[in-house]
């Protein structure tokens, strides 16, 4: 925390270059669309409503590199955006909510979600796992947007 208090955001190129900030935001949007879109595909399969020609296990394997690619994009662009004004973000309740949901969503995705999808589980359990996944990722998006409105 002390590190952030001593840091002067005006020295950050993101705050002096007209293009840097929106470029990071576009990268962030493309990143989360890739990340969440590919996870949603698995969720729809777990719910038994979409991509039914492919098993959930195959779908996880096929989309995994792209999920990771999307995650890499958000984990590069996100901290850059954060660096533009760390104190503002840290004090923002919506930002805190978002980061909490994000950490939970990432852990959930690579543990329970992945395990259930790979184990060919179907029915009620698979549906519950999918709904929790969708709810977590939607919460991350909502939390992110509300940073600008709280």
């Amino acid at each position: 925390m002390a590190f952030f208090l001593a840091y002067d955001p005006s020295t950050n190129p993101l705050n002096s270059n007209e293009w840097a900030f929106p470029v990071c935001e576009v990268m962030h949007i493309i990143g989360f669309a890739t990340l969440i879109g590919t996870i949603t595909m698995v969720d729809l399969r777990l719910l038994g409503v979409g991509m039914k020609k492919e098993s959930a296990a195959d779908l996880v394997r096929d989309t995994a590199p792209w999920t990771l690619f999307g995650l890499a994009l958000v984990l590069i662009s996100g901290p850059l955006i954060f660096s533009s004004d760390p104190n503002l973000y840290l004090a923002n309740i919506s930002f805190r909510f978002k980061i909490t949901c994000l950490v939970l969503a990432i852990i959930y995705n690579y543990t329970i979600h992945r395990k259930v999808a790979l184990s060919q589980t179907s029915g009620g359990l698979a549906a519950v796992v999918a709904v929790i996944s969708l709810a977590l990722w939607a919460s991350v998006v909502f939390g992110g947007i509300f940073i600008a409105f709280v």
């Binding site: 669309a33 969440i36 879109g37 595909m41 979409g50 020609k53 096929d62 792209w66 998006v141 600008a148």
Partner: protein, 175 residues
């Protein structure tokens, strides 16, 4: 559009309600972005499949047709929310060059869909039989990626443009 008409549009009851609510505007904006998360990632996977980069173990038809209804649902959500957001502040957005660019790109996306519909997106059985993905399908996918990334960028840049302040009246005009 004449400025009076644009202002009149924005003054409509629903538009005013959205604009002035502390909660409704950000909720619609969040849904707009949530739709992009669902829909955008699926467009990307469709395009990358056509380009032979992603999900190559699966037939083209399985990826394109499996994702189609969900892309339609996502598109409906994104467009509905986008329309409401634009309407609620149309007098502010209408002069914005990035807003106009976004509308132009939306028109191009529609033309793209019409142009490639028969030969690519509704022709997936043929694409499955083809030993290599035809150039036309790859062209459709590449153009789709460029157009959608352009749309997202134009959308984001809307927020960074400000109208030039009206020039202060000169003495000659005042007198």
């Amino acid at each position: 559009m004449p400025p009076e008409f644009v202002q009149w549009l924005q003054n409509a009851g629903l538009a005013t309600a959205i604009r002035e609510s502390a909660i409704v505007y950000p909720v619609i904006l969040s849904l707009h972005l949530t739709g992009m998360a669902l829909f955008g990632g699926m467009i990307l996977m469709t395009d990358l499949r056509l380009l032979g980069i992603a999900m190559t173990k699966r037939p083209v038809s399985e990826v394109v047709e499996g994702l189609r209804p969900w892309k339609h649902l996502g598109l409906t959500l994104v467009v509905t929310c986008g329309f409401l957001l634009a309407w609620s502040k149309i007098a502010i957005y209408y002069p914005n060059p990035f807003f106009r660019l976004k509308l132009g790109l939306l028109t191009l996306v529609t033309i793209h869909a019409l142009v490639f519909r028969r030969s690519v997106y509704r022709n997936t059985r043929e694409l499955d039989r083809s030993p290599v993905i035809p150039g036309r399908a790859k062209l459709a996918a590449a153009l789709s990626l460029v157009l959608w990334i352009g749309l997202v960028s134009a959308g984001r840049w809307i927020g960074y443009w400000e109208p030039k302040a009206a020039a202060p009246p000169t003495t000659a005009q005042v007198n």
